[in-house]
């Protein structure tokens, strides 16, 4: 396993233990859809419920990390900071698409023995377009070009 896969598998195993339902979004999701991008953190979309906040606290402990809320109280996300990685848990996407809606289009994959739900590349693109931050705009082109290439490849191999 690569370092990226080890980190993901570790997060997934601990999240499974605390029964936290989450969807991988952002550049890590794009990378699992085989887009040539890199990132420094991993982003998961979770429902904003009191129970999930409790689960996030336990998960942060299990991961040996510190649970923080950047830009408190305005930010709609929590971040687990650990020496080797940081994981963001976002409660809403810039695209405003609902958790259930994103989950319905998501891909189910495996990282080692761990199952992972990965937002569709279309949903990742929609979120980045809506966010429109410079770092999002920087990767949008390669995301869209990879999606078009994948569709052409699928059409050719049908």
């Amino acid at each position: 396993m690569s370092f990226s896969e080890q980190v993901l598998a570790q997060i997934l195993a601990k999240a499974r233990r605390v029964k936290l339902e989450m969807i991988l979004v952002g550049n890590a999701a794009a990378a699992l859809h085989k887009v040539p991008v890199m990132t420094q953190d991993v982003d998961f979309f979770v429902r904003h419920t009191p129970m999930n906040l409790k689960k996030l606290r336990v998960l942060a402990d299990e991961l040996g990390g510190m649970l923080t809320q950047p830009y408190y109280p305005t930010s709609r996300m929590m971040r687990v900071v650990a020496p080797d990685f940081s994981v963001d848990f976002v409660f809403e996407l810039s695209s405003r698409r609902r958790f259930e809606s994103v989950r319905s289009r998501a891909a189910r994959m495996k990282i080692g023995a761990q199952a992972i739900v990965v937002a569709s590349l279309e949903d990742v693109i929609a979120a980045k377009e809506a966010a429109a931050r410079p770092k999002d705009r920087a990767t949008l082109r390669i995301l869209k070009e990879t999606l078009r290439t994948q569709k052409e490849l699928e059409n050719e191999t049908k």
Binding site: S4, V7, K34, P36, T39, E145, E152, L153, E156
Partner: protein
């Protein structure tokens, strides 16, 4: 080692084949970018691992 070289050769051939077929239809995509995209899509069939998380080292360099 021999298998790794064979895999690399086959991957390179497959990328070249698909680039030849798809580039005319994706003419607005830079050929170097399309090559990178095809490599990223196809490499997992030849044993490629997901490798996307960068780590910042103490000296400020980023490594995978």
């Amino acid at each position: 080692m021999r298998k790794a070289v064979r895999n690399s050769q086959e991957l390179a051939q497959e990328i070249r084949m698909w680039q030849g077929r798809l580039q005319p239809r994706l003419a607005d995509i830079d050929p170097h970018d399309l090559h990178l995209i095809l490599w990223s899509i196809l490499r997992h069939r030849y044993g490629g691992r997901y490798n996307f998380l960068m780590r910042r080292q103490k000296d400020g360099r980023y490594v995978l």
